[in-house]
Structure formats: C-alpha cells, structure tokens
Symmetry: C2
Amino acid sequence: MTDEPPLFEMTTNPSPLAGRSPDPGLDAVESWFRSQENLAARFGQVFRKSIDEVLDGQRTARFDLYIKEGEGRVEKTEKTYLGTKVEIVTRAEFDLGHGSPMDYVICGQHVDAKFTMGKSWTIPKEADGHICLVMRADDRTETFQVGLLRITPDVLNNGLNGDQKRGTSAASRSGTRWIVEHGELPENFLLRLRDRSPEKVEAIFRASDGYRGRGNGGQLRVNELFRQVTGRLVDRTTVVTVATQHDSPKRVRDARKHLRKSGIVILGYRRPDPDIAADLGLPIPDQGTWVSARLSVVDDDSPRKATLINGIRYALWSAGDEPVVAPTIKHAKSEA
Amino acid sequence: MTDEPPLFEMTTNPSPLAGRSPDPGLDAVESWFRSQENLAARFGQVFRKSIDEVLDGQRTARFDLYIKEGEGRVEKTEKTYLGTKVEIVTRAEFDLGHGSPMDYVICGQHVDAKFTMGKSWTIPKEADGHICLVMRADDRTETFQVGLLRITPDVLNNGLNGDQKRGTSAASRSGTRWIVEHGELPENFLLRLRDRSPEKVEAIFRASDGYRGRGNGGQLRVNELFRQVTGRLVDRTTVVTVATQHDSPKRVRDARKHLRKSGIVILGYRRPDPDIAADLGLPIPDQGTWVSARLSVVDDDSPRKATLINGIRYALWSAGDEPVVAPTIKHAKSEA
C-alpha cells in the first residue's frame, strides 16, 4: 500500500467496487457518470422525451408504446428508432463525444449505447471487449435502469440472431454496474390515467365523435380532458396528444371559455394562477403544465380552503354545492 | 354512352386518364388528392418537416441526410424511420384514415405509404394488388415526387431481398400516376449554403472552437451565422442546428447584442423589422425567420435605399462605407 492518490476521483456516490475484477476503464466511466449532477432525473427526462417524440402524440394521438395492432400501433421500425433516439438524447444531455465504431467516448473509453424496452440487451459483435451503456425503460411500470457492462463472452447468450447480434445473459445482471438501478420514469399521464380510470380516457377521446377534421374535434377533446381530470397537473404532451395539434396554449385558453359554464377553471403558470392553486391546496402549475378545478362560491366564514378571485371567495366544489359559472381570471399577459 | 354523371368527381386539375387501363379505385384516390388545396406545397412541408425531425439538428448539429460515416452520420435505422415519419406526417397533414394491413384508407381504397430517398421503392408482399402512395424526396436537388401506383407483377423487379420486399421496376415509372411530378422541396438552408459557400459553414461551426460545453459555444456559432449570411432569410431549424439548443429566439436576441459593434442588425417578424427589411430591399422575415444586414449611416440626400431607425438614416453597408455601431431597434414585445 502506498499513499498515492486514487487513479480515478470519485466525486459523488462512490460505489463499492470491492470484490470485482479490476477494470480501470470501467471505473473511469462509472466515476464520470456518478459525478454528473442530477444524474437520475436527467436520465429520466432522456427516456421520457425519447418515448414522447417517437409516440408523436400531436400527430398520432398515441400514448402507449406497447400497442402492436390497430390504429394506435407502434411499428417495429419506430421501436428500433427509439433506441437511436435515446442514444441521441443521451449524447446531447451529457454532451458526450462521438466514438467509432462505438457511439461515445467517455474518459478516453469507447462506450456503446444500448437501449431496450424488454429485459435484455442486444449486443453487436463490434462491441466485444468494449463498454456498453445499457439502458432500459418501462413506461407501464414507470421505472428505468442505467448501467455499465463490459462485453465479455460470459455476459452474452450464445444465440445469434439474423443480424449477428447476441442478447445479454442472466449472468450479465451481476456483472452490470448500475448507475441508476431504481430510476423513476416521469409519468406518462394518459397511460397512467387509462390504467386507473379507463372510462375517463374513453370519454376524452370520444368527445369529438361525430366531428369531422381535427380543428373542432381537438378542442372538444381538450375540454373533456380538463373536465374529466380535475385537481391533477396536466402536461403539454398530454394536451397536444389529446388535441392532436401543436398549439397547446391556444387549446387551453379556449377550453377555459368552454368550461366556465360548468364552473371549471384551468390554472396555468402565470400569476395569479399558482397562488390560487396554492390557496385551494391544488398542485402548483409550472410553465407547460395546467391544473383544472371545479369551483363553488363560499361565505367569508367558511372553514373550507378558499381563494379570492375578482373579490369573490371560491372553494373547490363538493357534492351539494350550488353550481356556479367559473370566474374569468386576468393574467399579466394573454398567453395561457 | 349514357348521360350518367361521372363516377368520381374531378374537382381540380383533372389529369388525362385516356389510354390507361381502367382502374376506378386508383381514379378515386387520384381525384381525392388532386382536390386537396395547396397539394404540392403541403407535401413539400411533409418532407421538409420529416427530414428535419430525423436530422434532429438541435441535438446533433446535423443538416445532411446523406452522410454515412463519422460524427455527422445518419444511421440506417434513422433512414428507415424517415419513411415511417413521412407516413405519420402525411396522415396528419391530410387527415387520412387508418387501413389494415395498408397504411391508409382513402375513398374506401387501401393505400400504402412508400417513401424513398433513392430511385426505386421497396414494396412488401402485402401490398400486392393494392395502391401505393409512392413518395420520393431529395434534399440535395431540392426536389420531390408523389405518385400513385397499383402494385402488379409488371411494376416490380424479380429480386427479393431478405425481407421479402421487391423493388419497383423501371417500368413502374410509366405506370405511376404522378400527383406531384416536379415538386420543389423547401430549402435546407445549411445544406444549400455548404454547397455554395463551404467556407461560410466551416466558419460558423468553427466559431466555438476552443469553447467547452454547449452554452457559450452555441451563441458564438449563432453570432457567426448572422455575420456570415447577411441578406438571406434564416429559419428556425437553421438557428437551432447551429446553436444545438432549442431556444432559438433567445440566441437571436443575444446575437443582436453581440453583432451591434460590427454594424449588423438581425431583423425578425415583429414591427418595425419587416418595414425596415422592405425599405432596404431585403427579404421580409415572417414568424420563425430572421434576416441580418450590415448597415451604414447615409445622408438624407443619398440615392441609396435607406430606412430611418431612431431618427437616423441607414442603408445596407457597402465597401468603403464608414463602419458604424448598429442601432438598437425597439419592438412592441421583448421576444425576437
């Protein structure tokens, strides 16, 4: 033992490397990733963005990556491309250099990006001996994993598929150095809603039945979205997927007008909306998110959580309350 | 001969169908497309958007679909996916119904979308007997074609590739009913610039050499873009590709400050910018486009095209003019 400094600096969250065969290259890449700020949250966004871009909800109304047949299906070419998109978004997010033939160069090591929606990764022959950044995301369970794996014969299955690519073996699991082992994938709002309340998703997408074209139909669906899902943050991806249009702020502004008669307000990120949301105990909308709420007028001495809008006191509607027309909330600027 | 009305109404641009074997299904689909407003321009945008989304310039700085090696390469999976993206964007643009197993249903006919960057289309077995919407775009020649082809043995090559797909034959060309035969693909600004002035593209992308990270580097490249390319409309895709960042208006606003000392203004769509552009004989910027210009101060009696900014008379700079600091132009709102 000497007093020499360690070869690779472990700036944050050093992982126990004891008991593993020495692999300074892998150590270096692992340390590099662990030194990145907000590592797990950034990878979560990498997968969320990649999946949402491939679903292309604003054009296709799709929100479920796992549909294989019918109108909402995701083609095999799209799933293959999802891996390429993840590689691109990861490179941009972490400003990674280009390698050849591997995808990235990190700390002088050639690293290949490998993404799977399933359980194992497909490894091309060229990756033999190299490090793979193995990534997995599951939109249904809202989980993801990111790890590093040195490709040696013992981490691969023998089976070759047509492309001369091999799958990772069960043994690869213990050989993988997890950078994020239990990642929480940011929620896919509509997928989650369909799991919990399929009738609501059906009502939203049926709201435009009988309408031709996308214009009016999209507005009717967005109205129904904010009518069905009160008290929860709704993100931009959800609005454009429901609208099948890209101008989500405009659809939300118009939905405000349509839902006034039903006593529903849609709160955005502009003042005073976040204050109203806070007063009412609702989640606070940030830029690109909205929360709708049905309101009632309450007395000054009501013990219910309440907020003042245009001089009138409002609480969240509850059964038995008098129906009211929702107030028009003035914002600093006209945008939603 | 009877006086019955024609089976399918040819609302605009009827094509001469004489001399062809009767195919009422194909006639119907052809008529439907020909009745769409701005057909050629809309298809042009379909291909422009699809190519730009696959290039993903804001993350990859790529603008050339045809690079096969090195950092700027476009992977085979991306080119395959381009066909899927074209199918999706076409469906959204023309609000086409879903078919099975073909992509679309148009006038009750099952129609498959087939896109190629090359010269022939690859046709799957399932398309036999069906109509294909054959589409082709070439970003280098700025051309595209869209046609309809009934898949019969005589329009196919015999050769089968691994996927049991056959290519269209030379004979297919005469059998194709062109909907848009000589389409002009909207320009890929950077690709065109590199063709004409490769040294300018090099100067733009080298402007950030020596800088680490994307923040400052992107701004330096955007500054150089507007310094190198004066007097031409620059679109949003170009700015985000050069910046490798998505907030193009912010980069343009900052470039304005950086380029003042060089006497360069960047005009956008907000008043009074379009008026200034018109006064100076520059192309008029619309939303999402900008035009830069180097200015000189000129006398009131100068015969040169000039514009008044903050009470001072400016013309386009020409050799021999005194260098000036560019004026700050006040806009109605702060956005670029």
